[in-house]
Subunit: 288 residues, 4 copies
């Protein structure tokens, strides 16, 4: 990784057209910004262009607002959307959980040691179980019980927390409720879920039990953006774990925890480092 | 691996009942057979017991026929089925292919250097394309074209080759035809297919194109025994390969070749070394 | 995994000799013990035999002491050493750490949710840093500072904790001190260390920096029993992680944490489930 | 992969200096070349910059010679070295082997189906064994025996083949001779060797036997550019394979074949697609 203290990230996408790279790189050169890492990809099937650039301003007094305003003008010619991320930026996050704590525990650890550049503003749950874990890390914990009848009210409470904390990303760390269409839409592109199977295999409930029934020799986990189609949102990354005939369903549950944690935290890291680009139902991921 | 020159394999299964291991091990001890490797597993959900034993007779003049006859009597008390495999035994095999040659090429190489203890008696195809490859390895190649109308006749031809060659295993090395129910039944437990996806994901035709559409980040291959339910037969082993947004469908096809070859040859090796036990819709695999 | 409530484990080893399996299995049969899983291996190069058996007594009132006494007599004929582990047994453990907390945090989590059948009796460190983490899990924390001069006294303190807690296993979870020969000998076969490289590559200090210098494309971790030869003790298991030119030494340190945690906890699980057999400088590991 | 029929590759490196990306991208824009994929990296420790660009000329009549001449002028200001690779270019290659044929067989297969964009001009060996294999693929085979005394003459013969065939890359596909310093120097940056261990572990002879002695639980293979320091040349890529106590040295040899083939062919693919940049003792690899 380049020097974090002065590493800016510019992430952008637009329709394919001559000059898509040049519009970015020339602008950076003109402002004396040195590009330390760059990755671009043109998707010939969708006709869409993606670019991620890490750079460090070489001149004194880099003015981010001016940079954004001026670049917006150039970008407009290309119908390019972009995002500028300053050094040391920690993305405001809300985590949603139910009773299982392995993914939460893993995220909290990475957060605590500074490995994940996130700022966990709150933890929301439909159960009270994980309050102590949150408390030890000094993070607000909101227990919002849910029933079929109270779902709209509960989601309103959740939404209120997201808004009040200014969360830009919601992490569903084994939150065992299906979000409403309305909620999915509000969180489009900024809510990451972990599903404990290699999607599209074993969608829905109890995927490890489904996996046992089929007798598969590999299980896995899928981190994806949520959308209104359950377990069908755009995939960010997937992990895999070999299993055998000696693994009963409860063993798959136990064995799967590690790959769930690793897959979810990798997806979050990719997202907050602006390595994931979302277009239609697919992602472009500029992994390291 | 133990010394091949004197390595016998006894593979057996039966309902769970006190004494299932003892009936095997006591018998071997009495006949002065030294057990070099043993693996047993009792499946508590199905109530079924599986055991695989490698041994070397320490007395002169080991008599396999007498061994089988005498052990059969003991095994009968446990409703145990078993199979005794002598040292250096090469399983008679017929390979079925269509046009893609990567799996065939891989199997032929392993066969040629003696890595796979098989005896390839014939290669059968619905296309003439791979005849040269077969010829270079000195193996008979049967071209039996197939159409919807001629399917029964074609399968009769295939069956005739299997019978005349005494093949005990049929390997479908990217044979792109669906076998009839009748053929599936005849080959039950002794025909291994390679499907180019992580089943149960992407069954049926063009799995790499399906995988591209879904935007998955892992592709894979599944080796399984065939049965009458397409791509639903008992799974022996699976392999996996990471892919990215930059892999178009044709790239997935190319990238998948290696994992298909490795997965299929591993399944064949497991089968011929008697490491795979089939029970109902599941396999028990005593891998090394 | 078989039903834990009634799963006994018998692990044994002895010189290779006709009847090594039979002496175990016949004994179990006679006492009406049903074998649910068994794995044996005869090492032809060292002439040594290893066997691990999971069983469940079918008769009422299984008497472990009587079992051990009676089996000892039979085992003696084969110079067989053995160990009987009752259901639900949690191995008494002391963990040693320095400042890095990732492995400790990981072990504590698995301990807390009951995934690792260990009973952590104390945490010992040459630094005070991780006391809070220990406290939150309700585990005694002993801070024993160390200098070149005070090493003998410090090791005496450590040894005293090990003895008083009755620890049967010591886990060196990134303890950054070299143990004395005397200490190594006392802990022979019951102290597991995690080294952050793929041994024998990059022994000694700062292995990730060494790895960076060499420009390797894979880093890893090795869990091994300690002995008097630094980083040369018998290997239990190893894990691996791909890296690239873009990973500076500090990135390798960060990336390596996960594989260190996974490799160490896997080694501990294998050890406490009696899946690891130590003989001379090698291990036999009956993995699931 | 982008459309091969019109995919040009520009690979370049130079000292770190403001404008290193811009000098490339502006030039391409001016000549109406559309960038379909780009990856750049600045190594802050060595102060060196690397860039790889895939592009397609949008104007009719792209003139490669003019392009190179004009770009050379700009590149000179940055002390930038570069290489332009036209669509469909197949790199002229000589393969060197001894008796083991698995890597050769694998390379020939990928060559035959067009998966590796290489043009195998000749196979050179110090043994006659693999002549048939070469013949079946229609490739010239040169048998140059070698002894300690005839080594200079033999290397002169080899060099003569390399020169006469115009080979730009030499692949040492398990060639079991150490090349002289002189030969290493002549082939600097254009000879790839496969070593059957995870370097720097187990350098030199019989690495699998060394691995068995150490009791490692992972073996592997390393593809690297050769230099005058045996098994110390810059690493391109590495592969790994889990092994167990049950794998005797001859099993490691057998198990290792697959990972050797995969690792070597991956390195060759990376090299011919201009994804590998060599600087001092390290490589920068822009993998897909």
């Amino acid at each position: 990784m380049q020097d974090n203290n002065n590493r800016w990230i510019l992430a952008a996408q637009c329709p394919s057209r001559l000059g898509t790279v040049d519009v970015v790189t020339r602008f950076l050169k003109e402002r004396r910004c040195y590009i330390t890492e760059q990755h671009s990809f043109d998707d010939r099937l969708s006709g869409r262009f993606f670019i991620r650039t890490e750079f460090r301003p070489e001149a004194e007094g880099f003015d981010a607002e001016a940079f954004e305003a001026e670049f917006a003008a150039r970008a407009a010619e290309f119908e390019m959307t972009f995002e500028l991320t300053p050094p040391g930026r920690r993305l405001p996050v809300v985590i949603m959980v139910s009773k299982a704590d392995h993914c939460l525990n893993d995220l909290l650890y990475r957060y605590r040691i500074g490995q994940l550049p996130i700022d966990i503003r709150a933890i929301v749950s439909n159960h009270p179980d994980l309050e102590n874990l949150a408390a030890w890390h000094g993070i607000a914990y909101h227990h919002f019980p849910i029933t079929a009848e109270t779902k709209p009210e509960q989601e309103a409470q959740v939404w209120s927390v997201i808004e009040q904390t200014g969360a830009e990303l919601v992490i569903l760390a084994r939150y065992m409720q299906v979000l409403s269409s309305d909620m999915c839409e509000k969180l489009s592109g900024r809510a990451i879920n972990i599903h404990h199977s290699l999607l599209p295999g074993f969608k829905g409930a109890r995927p490890y039990h489904q996996a046992y029934e089929k007798g598969v020799k590999l299980v896995g986990a899928t981190a994806h953006y949520i959308n209104d189609d359950l377990d069908e949102g755009p995939i960010i990354t997937q992990g895999v774990e070999p299993v055998s005939h000696a693994d009963y369903p409860e063993d798959l549950v136990a064995k799967g925890r590690d790959v769930e944690c690793l897959t979810l935290s990798r997806a979050v890291a990719l997202h907050v480092e602006r390595r994931v680009f979302l277009h239609a139902k697919r992602t472009v991921v500029f992994d390291r």
